[in-house]
Amino acid sequence: MSLDQGALAARPERRGAAALAVLSGIAGFLLTLAITLFGLVVVTFVIGRVVPIDPVLAVVGDRASGDVYARVRAEMGLDLPLIEQFRIYLVKAVTGDFGRSVLTTNPVIADIRTYFPATIELATLGTVIGTLIGIPLGVFAAVRSGSLADQIVRIVGLVGYSVPIFWLGLMALLLFYARLDWVAGPGRLDIAYDYMVAPVTGMVTVDALMQGQTEVFWNAVSHLVLPACLLGYFSLAYISRMTRALLLNELGQEYVITARVKGLSETRVIWRHALRNAAVPLLTVVVLSYATLLEGSVLTETVFAWPGIGSYITNSLQNADMNAVLGGTLVVGAAFVTLNLLSDLLYRLLDPRTR
């Protein structure tokens, strides 16, 4: 009886300590996030200042008089001291004001709002594909490490690390679209379906489903499947490799022998004991892979004319539209940094050893 009371008394205390650890973990995460995002703003500011393109000229054109030039320069705040310019830039960046895009004449933030969901749609599906195939493949390779099957999985992964994604995309388009006609070509929808669904989330597949437009949905899927599989392959290469390495490391641990001594089936030993120990680092691997796809979609989007943030940045780049480039970089960077640090936080919160 007294023992039970002791046990009951001990539990909330432990929970309190755990909650405190969670809170301090989240606080640390937010602080690091703030510092890193600040660093990102500094870097884009510096990039914006060293640009050889004169931003005033971009606005007034090269036939404007000296008066007009000076006035616009003052309006743009370019005659202020650098530190003051940075302060203004920082405040604007925090409030999401990245200026107007010269190319589209919209505020950059409005452009980003229309383009970013397309990137998220693509990267999410890519990560789902990469995770669903990559983890079982990595487990398979680890369990049969050293076998021919393991070598094949390793080579599949190394090829994924080695092939230029934009080239593979072109070749896939050539084969599956131009020659075999299995999938739809570049872009997000056939022109006939444009503007048939109202953008709610901005992700065409989701919007079409929500509005019951199945025909549009299937057209969107046929456009999405090839680039998503491509990103999925890259994600798979990384995830399967990491799964293999993490699981091999766990399979060498003594608790695995203990599990076998208990007479558990090999399936249970691997999935419930070894993989569960690798689960937390594996989750961070998946999050990191997602972040990399968000960023790495720049090249894929260019190849597939996918109207995402990557296409937006490169198009703006080629037209010397620095507001759009820096705004896009900041948003992609912020998403990347957040996911990156989030994976750290997840690691600390989910692993009982580090709680």
Binding site: G6, K262, L264, H273
Partner: protein
């Protein structure tokens, strides 16, 4: 008389490594009834691999061969993996050196013990939990309710090893292989863990194979002692007749024990005769 609990005849275990083949165990034979057998030897003498081969836990790159390897009359070399798995954990079990590594770090004590129990018994979660609590009490853990909710890293070394013993004995096995069960523990808790082990083995009438590098410990704990060197048994002794040891290696081991009543300077060093390994 029924068959002995364990029969081992001419057991060999070899490993294929990139640098060549290593013969860890070479022609080991012994039998075991419901008694306590000690296996002593230095690191790499093959004592742990003998225990692992018995349980069927030799690593994948190793091969086990023997004229006979039997448990309670069951030919282990002919048994399928499924049959061996059914024996493991229910009738034969093992306790390893360091609870910090041999317990699963991301499962609570309760999850691990309950899993061991339910792997071989049809029992509801509540029944398994009850059995786990009782078992923890029998390894003299005072607050089993509290300990059940803990993760291994929250346990002390002695506590962890008691949890390990509880987990491995919850299915009432007939054979326990204890592989250096106290070497990783604090000197202060070694005795306690050993006494618990001793009591459980006696009370349940199990066969015990105690593997250790510590001759003194093995001699005080076991009925018989096998001395292994370089994969072979060099000598078999009754534990109370340790000083009758004839083999120079065993005598060397005894000679290395520090004694209070004799000045031993310089400290004696084991002489190894390459001929022993032949």
């Amino acid at each position: 008389m029924t068959a002995p609990l364990v029969e081992v005849e001419d057991l060999s275990v070899a490993f294929d490594l990139p640098d060549g083949r290593i013969e860890a165990v070479r022609g080991v034979s012994f039998t075991l009834g419901r008694e306590r057998l000690g296996i002593v030897g230095e690191s790499g003498s093959g004592k742990s691999q003998t225990g692992r081969a018995l349980l069927g836990l030799t690593a994948r790159n190793g091969t086990v061969s023997a004229k006979r390897l039997a448990f309670d009359g069951i030919d282990l070399l002919r048994a399928s993996e499924r049959e061996r798995r059914a024996l493991r954990g229910s009738r034969m079990t093992m306790v390893m050196q360091d609870p910090r590594y041999s317990l699963n770090p991301v499962m609570t004590v309760e999850q691990q013990i309950v899993e061991a129990y339910r792997a071989h018994r049809r029992a509801s979660r509540a029944e398994a939990r009850g059995a786990a609590l009782a078992m923890l009490q029998s390894v003299r853990i005072d607050q089993p309710e509290r300990v059940m909710a803990l993760y291994p890293h929250e346990l002390s070394g002695g506590m962890g090893q008691r949890v390990m013993i509880a987990m491995m004995l919850i299915t009432d096995p007939e054979l326990l292989v204890a592989d250096e069960p106290t070497s990783a523990l604090d000197v202060t808790v070694r005795g306690e863990v050993l006494r618990i082990l001793d009591a459980l083995v006696a009370e349940r009438g199990m066969g015990l194979i105690l593997i250790s590098h510590d001759l003194e410990l093995v001699a005080s704990f076991c009925d018989r002692v096998l001395v292994m060197y370089a994969g072979r048994i060099v000598e078999e002794l009754r534990a109370d007749a340790l000083h009758d040891a004839k083999h120079p290696y065993t005598r060397g081991l005894i000679g290395c024990l520090p004694r209070l009543d004799r000045d031993s300077h310089p400290l004696p060093v084991l002489d190894r005769d390459p001929a022993w390994a032949l």
